[in-house]
């Protein structure tokens, strides 16, 4: 039972990081697969609406292992949330918490603030910005960059690809600018 209690607590970075790193050799040794999740978004486009666009005309079925991989991630998210959930509220840095509270965030109980990410917000301005606009940037940006945190920051840096370092630095700069300049404006506007 103690093991379960331990698993239910939030896992520290020095446990989670190395486990994530092990995904790299696991995928390589299981079948010469490079770790990279954002390409699944492209496979979904290629499988559903290729629309005769050259970028979506390739053998996506050959890459379907990645769709199984992300289906696994969703299942893992289910298992961790409903079978191994942490009964305590999330503990975040007090400075982040006070900054966000000043911007109007009131719900600090779960992994995502209900102020922004609850289903009732889907058809509101909040949903349009935090779900639709944000999601569009994630999909457009990762594909334009040729990868995301997994493909560039983890797989790319692990295999010493310098373009991945450029991409990773760009992700961080974009995130820093957005968090510190755009996000306060957006939150003041909609919350």
């Amino acid at each position: 039972m103690e093991i379960i209690e331990l698993l239910r607590k939030p896992w520290p970075w020095y446990v989670a990081g190395p486990l994530i790193g092990l995904t790299v050799p696991a995928l390589l040794l299981l079948g010469n697969k490079s770790f990279g999740i954002s390409s699944t978004l492209r496979h979904i486009c290629a499988a559903t609406v290729p629309a005769n666009i050259p970028f979506f005309k390739y053998d996506w079925k050959r890459e379907s292992w990645n769709l199984f991989f992300v289906a696994g991630i969703a299942l893992g998210g289910f298992v961790a949330t409903f079978l191994l959930s942490n009964p305590e509220p999330i503990v975040i840095a007090s400075s982040t918490k006070s900054d966000l509270a000043a911007l109007g965030i009131t719900d600090f109980s779960g992994l995502m603030p209900a102020d922004l990410f609850s289903v009732v917000n889907i058809l509101s301005l909040k949903g349009l910005i935090f779900l639709v606009f944000g999601g569009f940037l994630v999909g457009f940006g990762t594909r334009y960059a040729g990868g995301c945190t997994s493909g560039h920051a983890i797989m790319g840096l692990s295999s010493l690809q310098w373009p991945s370092l450029v991409a990773t630095v760009s992700f961080m700069i974009g995130g820093l600018i957005c968090t510190n300049f755009l996000l306060p404006v957006l939150l003041n506007w909609v919350v």
């Binding site: 299981l30 492209r42 299942l75 940037l137 920051a153 974009g174």
Partner: protein, 173 residues
């Protein structure tokens, strides 16, 4: 060292890999033979374990991403940094000991070629990451974890990818 082929994704020696030559596909499949349907379940299991780590380490949390971009916590930097360190050592050992895949192939990793998209796209993704609190991997884990509103984020991300594919010939690279 030279035994390890570094091939570009797309122009691999097998003809059924019909990707554009200047294409930097992440998550490339460099295995010679296609996977069977049953064989793909290996990756579902790896994904399942990975998804559990994502949620339990709170990497899927919007709050954790906010902390990272405000430099208020070491957590996310520790996760990414130690993941890269373990990945780096693993690949180094695979190359040093010439470890093969379970079907006996030599391990091959596609080289990434630089283009300006890594800067422009990277900046745009950084904005999206800060707004949604998610990169593509956590989107799937959040949906599995019951944040059903994120389904909209995922659909919009797919739409963003589609629009990129459509505009690609006209974008600076």
């Amino acid at each position: 060292m030279e035994k390890i082929r570094n091939t570009s994704a797309g122009n691999a020696d097998n003809g059924n890999h019909a990707l554009l030559p200047d294409d930097s596909l992440d998550g490339a499949n460099q295995q010679r033979n296609s996977e069977t349907f049953a064989g793909n379940f290996k990756y579902l299991i790896v994904g399942l374990l990975f998804g559990i780590v994502f949620v339990k380490a709170e990497i899927v949390s919007w709050f954790r991403i906010q902390e990272m971009f405000r430099f208020d916590s070491f957590h996310m930097f520790g996760v990414i940094g130690s993941a890269v360190a373990v990945g780096l050592i693993s690949i180094w050992l695979i190359r040093k000991w010439k470890v093969t895949t379970i079907s006996g192939e030599e391990v091959s990793i596609a080289d990434k070629t630089f283009n300006k998209g890594q800067i422009y796209g990277g900046l745009l993704f950084g904005f999206g990451w800060a707004i949604t609190g998610a990169c593509p991997g956590p989107l799937y884990a959040q949906i599995g974890g019951g944040f059903l509103a994120v389904t909209v984020t995922l659909l919009s991300a797919i739409a963003g990818t589609w629009v990129y594919g459509w505009l690609r010939p006209r974008l600076p690279h």
